[in-house]
Symmetry: C2
Subunit: 418 residues, 2 copies
């Protein structure tokens, strides 16, 4: 392998920053699905892709696809990508780094063709900000954008279908956005957006699974009363009940490996310092890579809520708003990726992804693997989001090695998925 | 004593309801300090007072005073009263019951003069709603309405001084609102506004002291982070810290007699279900009749906040917004009042008042006693606030007996306060 130096890592980072300047809001990076600034992003990426010899097209959902042929016309196809859109006031690396690295990888081939083709894909939508529907890009790639989705409207009343037309694309062509049935694997490279790798001084994480998630709302109902005239033993204090429950949630999650549980939103009513809370609403977010573990946790936490409510002479209701299964990634591909990292000299950590990614959509259909890069400060969805050049280089070298091993292991891989 | 029947209790209740119809907001009882509806209240009360043979005047702060002479022109003076103003959308008894009962007591004398005069006083302001300054009526009665208070403005920019003039009164006359130096005692009759008497099936409470109060705001500061990608052991979760502290506050207060502590207001930032709270602000309200006990509690709760914050890798600051000492009532008067209740056949309970009352302002200057009536459902500051005729009768009979014993004990009482 040639070019083991950090210049290409620094170039990759500076390309991400160049794209970050393509924004709807001057002075910050905000780039929602199919907004005019996305045309500029397409132009930039297209220029780099074409310079690397790739054939480029934009599909009907706005995914940008750069194709680098394999050794033969019917070579199987490896998809490498991530997303192009951002959250409001975003950083420069969430999503886009995986696409820019895809281009850099093809550049590193320096004209060489492999036993498989590579398609670098920039999904046009993952964050779900504009239409409150995430993953529109990857859903289109597996043929799951239906009429109902096309009818969804943004805050200006524009539908997904109309947004596609406004961007100069044709929703009738959506079936052609489905990835080729020659596609044998998907690789997503993404920043971790969490503190785990940094805390272990590791550059790279090998994602085994994307966690499943439960979202609930709990409502503790007691009785609002005077904070001065109501003795402790005659209270029906919804806040005291909720607090005891939050402590139990934290204790349960902390004592179960890789489980996370969060109460991030809480409102007390009437919400005055001198009035005992008569009602408290609280959110619960529970995630784990094993759905059995997650469901057991949710059950235990719901029971803890009932016990805490009873002890405080209050009542509680728990309403499940989301119960999304975990998505395992492909074990064989994942092992190849980890071996590639080791071979490249970058010890990596197997881990789960606590956040959702396009790989979550593709994995049930296409064998998928995911490579995480350390997030300095664990920071993401923030203008100060960053990556270290050393880690970008580690990812690049690892993926180049992955391509090599993938060529060698193709047969093995196909046996595994026969 | 004549007239031991419930007709007078029912008449007292119906008079309170008649006054409750004097309101600024049709359909509910809302009567703030010196609003036009207060003129109607004055008219009604004046008509009942004058029919009972009392001499009536309104002082410069708007207190309505009805005078019933004693046996001689220089007889000492007993003040009986409570307040005329209400909270928004109030009940019919908070405050006004003590004034209407004062009138009923003079009526029960049926022309008889005692060794002391009685002045029934309706304080024009206690709740503090209009100017965010409570107790304006009783403060004027002890000469504590100063220029700074007169300059306070309401939400329409009208000052206290201007409000007085708009009502047809003259702030220059405020020094004449100070109660006569012949005044030897103050008795306030008030609904409990809490559940204690009801929970013990008692009609009457004898208030020994009005509790001291600490109000604080605590700010727990951690670090907002992704609920999915941040493992439990790397979190700086301000909500988890605050919850642990609230549990400790509740536990401490519950294990110390007559102590109450409340966290009624809590806000989490950013306040999203999928984001670990980076900041939580919480109120703390601590009350006890013994300031030493209260200060020890506040210290312990502040330490608990620091421990909880440290355990969750967060920080906490605690800001004291109010540290108001307890106000003991007069022991000799209080004993006479309790004996009177027993003599009248209504076993009473000694208790503290967790809420503030005009007696809190007068007690440091004039020996004061307070009689509580059971609050059905513990309900107050609510349209459904009520009193039982049986309890109103108990209060009336008790106070008539109190007057008798007070006549007998005047010498003793004066020795006690020499």
């Amino acid at each position: 392998m040639t070019g083991t130096n950090t210049d290409r890592a620094i170039r990759t980072i500076s390309r991400c920053r160049e794209i970050a300047a393509r924004t709807e809001v001057p002075g910050e990076t905000t780039r929602l699905f199919l907004t005019p600034s996305m045309h500029n992003v397409h132009s930039l990426l297209r220029s780099w892709m074409e310079a690397a010899g790739m054939t480029v097209h934009v599909d009907a959902i706005g995914n940008l696809c750069g194709f680098w042929a394999g050794l033969s016309a019917d070579s199987p196809r490896l998809l490498i990508g991530s997303h192009l859109d951002t959250v409001p006031n975003a950083g420069a690396f969430d999503g886009i780094l995986g696409v820019v690295l895809g281009v850099a990888i093809v550049e590193e081939l320096r004209g060489k063709h492999l036993p498989f083709a590579i398609e670098v894909i920039g999904f046009s939508e993952e964050e779900g900000v504009r239409f409150s529907k995430p993953f529109l890009g990857s859903l289109a790639a597996i043929g799951k954008v239906d009429a109902e989705t096309l009818a969804c409207t943004d805050r200006d009343g524009i539908s997904v279908g109309q947004a596609i037309r406004n961007f100069g694309l044709d929703p009738v062509q959506l079936p052609r956005a489905v990835v080729s049935n020659h596609t044998f694997a998907y690789l997503e490279i993404h920043i971790e957006q969490g503190p785990v790798l940094e805390s272990e001084n590791a550059s790279l994480g090998i994602v085994e699974a994307l966690v499943g998630q439960t979202r609930m709302q709990l409502v503790f109902t007691g009785q609002a009363n005077h904070a001065g005239t109501t003795p402790m033993h005659l209270r029906h204090d919804a806040m005291a009940a909720a607090a005891e429950w939050i402590v139990a949630v934290e204790r349960y999650a902390s004592s179960h490996d890789d489980l996370v549980a969060t109460v991030g939103k809480l409102e007390a009513f009437p919400g005055a310092g001198n009035v005992i809370a008569g009602k408290v609403t609280a959110s619960l977010d529970v995630r784990h890579a094993d759905d059995t573990v997650r469901h057991a946790a949710v059950l235990a936490m719901t029971k803890e809520a009932e016990s805490a409510a009873t002890r405080h002479r209050t009542q509680v209701t728990a309403n499940t708003q989301l119960d999304q299964p975990a998505v395992p990634l492909d074990p064989a591909l994942t092992t190849i990726l980890q071996n590639a990292a080791a071979q490249a000299g970058f010890p990596s950590r197997r881990m789960t992804s606590g956040a959702g990614h396009d790989a979550m959509i593709l994995a049930p259909v296409i064998p998928s693997a995911m490579l995480f890069l350390r997030s300095p400060g664990g920071l993401s969805h923030h203008p100060d989001e960053s990556v270290l050049p050393h880690d970008v280089e580690a990812a690049l070298v690892t993926v180049m090695e992955f391509l090599t091993q993938l060529g060698d292991d193709r047969g093995k891989l196909e046996d595994g998925h026969a």
